[in-house]
């Protein structure tokens, strides 16, 4: 027998820690760690609520598995974005992101010859 107040309290604590992690970090990957903690708080709450007697359709554990899948998809796309940001600006500091555009660069007036294409 287990009292369900303990997991509920842990879920609230994890969500608060995750909010602090999102707000207190400048490094983009570490912000994602805070997001993961918030998602895990939601998972723990789903499992806790699903363990109450009489929960229909096994909704708690099944939805937890779905959230874990969505979190995996989210982190893959988010880390791809972070890597593009690092390639473009040289850092992943979220307070120093310059304006970015994916428009092609305007053609230079005199097109350089073959030799200098190595730089691009």
């Amino acid at each position: 027998m287990i009292h369900l107040q303990l997991p509920a309290a842990l879920a609230a604590l994890l969500a608060g820690i995750g909010v602090y992690g999102v707000l207190a970090r400048r490094n983009a990957v570490l912000v994602l760690i805070g997001v993961e903690l918030i998602l895990n708080a939601a998972n723990l709450l789903l499992v806790t609520a699903g363990s109450r007697p009489g929960a229909p359709f096994s909704a708690g554990p099944v939805l937890t598995l779905f959230v874990i899948t969505i979190a995996a998809a989210e982190i893959a796309v988010a880390l791809a974005v972070v890597l593009v940001l690092f390639r473009t600006t040289g850092s992943i500091d979220l307070t120093a992101v310059p304006d970015l555009t994916d428009e092609p660069e305007p053609e230079p007036e005199s097109r350089p010859e073959h030799g200098s294409e190595v730089r691009s």
Binding site: A15, V29, N40, N43, T48, P61, D102
Partner: protein
């Protein structure tokens, strides 16, 4: 207090403590490793709650895949080794973050604790609701369409991550990208 309560309190304390360390440590790589500890012990929490399938999936997907991805991203973005003060926002913003985090905890706690007050679940006869066979039947019965949609979502995320990582962005001020020097 039953035995499971005490075990859950111990494992949950490790989870909360390592989560707190992962958002406060000054070492970039340590943050990912403390996240690993936190997610792993959360899988232990699921085991104590009687949901062994969710616990194992948590271990496989979170600890096995997501934390490794995070570590990969830290390596590819030249994470500095050693303590580094520049990964945190200024002090006033951290104070605001702490206040907001505590407020979130207080709000959720004041909502959830009365909701679950006195609620107990008896795990002596296996997991509540029938355990893993019941979950399997629910996934491939009631939840089969969301399940199939999730596989499409994973495919879209795979293609999306591949496409985004091939994207070439330009800075509007025309400055060439210049990798920041690795500092200790």
């Amino acid at each position: 207090m039953t035995t499971r309560d005490i075990v859950f309190a111990a494992v949950g304390a490790i989870t909360a403590l390592s989560a707190l360390l992962s958002v406060t440590t000054k070492h970039v790589v340590h943050a990912a490793l403390w996240l690993l500890v936190s997610l792993g012990t959360l899988a232990g929490c699921y085991l104590v709650l009687g949901q062994e399938l969710v616990g194992l999936v948590q271990l496989l997907v979170y600890v096995g895949a997501i934390v490794v991805l995070v570590l990969f991203a830290l390596m590819l973005t030249r994470a500095p080794i050693g303590p580094h003060a520049e990964i945190d926002t200024p002090a006033w913003q951290r104070v605001v973050g702490a206040v907001l985090g505590a407020a979130t905890t207080a709000l959720l706690g004041s909502l959830l604790l009365p909701l679950f007050s006195g609620a107990t679940v008896d795990l002596a006869g296996g997991a509540p609701g029938g355990g893993t066979p019941a979950i399997a039947q629910a996934i491939f019965g009631t939840w089969v369409w969301p399940f199939e949609l999730l596989s499409v979502l994973l495919l879209v995320a795979l293609i999306g991550a591949f496409t985004v990582s091939r994207l070439v962005l330009k800075r509007e001020d025309g400055v060439r990208p210049r990798p920041r020097e690795v500092r200790r």
